[in-house]
Assembly symmetry: C2
Homo-oligomer: 128 residues x 2
């Protein structure tokens, strides 16, 4: 049994190669199946770049409101207690809404994601 304590966790600033705006990430634990758990705080309008996870991803809303969208599909607003699943290989983004920060838990499957371009403002607004 492994433990990652909130009061001992380190938050790192999300870098410009993967994120737009102010984002803080805490990596926690991983298992032998390459699933890992991260806690992510987004400022309003801050968001990931387009990316995809080889094993898919679950998101659990802890606080605030977020936008989550798969390329070419309608977007979803993530609120506290909501769970979203993004399938393996789906190009998608997540972040705060325009007027709200977001804290979510991310359950990331299948090793490191592949990162793409930043999400332009038009793309961030589209489908919501």
């Amino acid at each position: 049994m492994d433990v990652s304590r909130a009061d001992e966790g380190t938050f790192e600033r999300g870098d410009d190669a993967r994120f737009t705006g102010e984002v803080w990430l805490r990596s926690t634990l991983a298992d032998d199946r390459e699933t890992n758990i991260g806690i992510v705080h987004f400022s309003p309008g801050a968001r990931t770049h387009w990316h995809r996870h080889p094993g898919g991803q679950f998101l659990f809303g802890v606080s605030g409101r977020g936008r989550v969208r798969t390329r070419g599909e309608d977007g979803h607003v993530l609120q506290p207690g909501d769970v979203i699943h993004v399938g393996p290989g789906e190009w998608h983004f997540h972040g705060g809404t325009g007027d709200s920060p977001l804290v979510h838990v991310a359950v990331n499957g299948g090793a490191a994601p592949e990162w793409g371009d930043p999400v332009r403002d038009e793309e961030f607004a589209d489908g919501f």
Copy 2:
């Protein structure tokens, strides 16, 4: 992309074949790798029976305080923001502490768990 909305979710009472005390569970989404996400509310002292997950389990503390212990090992108090990983096949339990309720997110790996005996009061207190 699949969504399980908190405001549409159904909580079911945990049954006596798997839980001791008042426990409420909301099942959300599962992926193709047989990982699924559940939200669980325990009253103080309420807990799972001994059980084990074929693919292991992550727990994320949302509110309150919990006890989590693998058989034969020391226990851990789960607090908000903490993440615990229980390895595949480890017989373990989780629940509220004696004086606090607990809400946690459970990330369950590898299909249905195997259920064992109730956790006796001495076992619930041992190792904390």
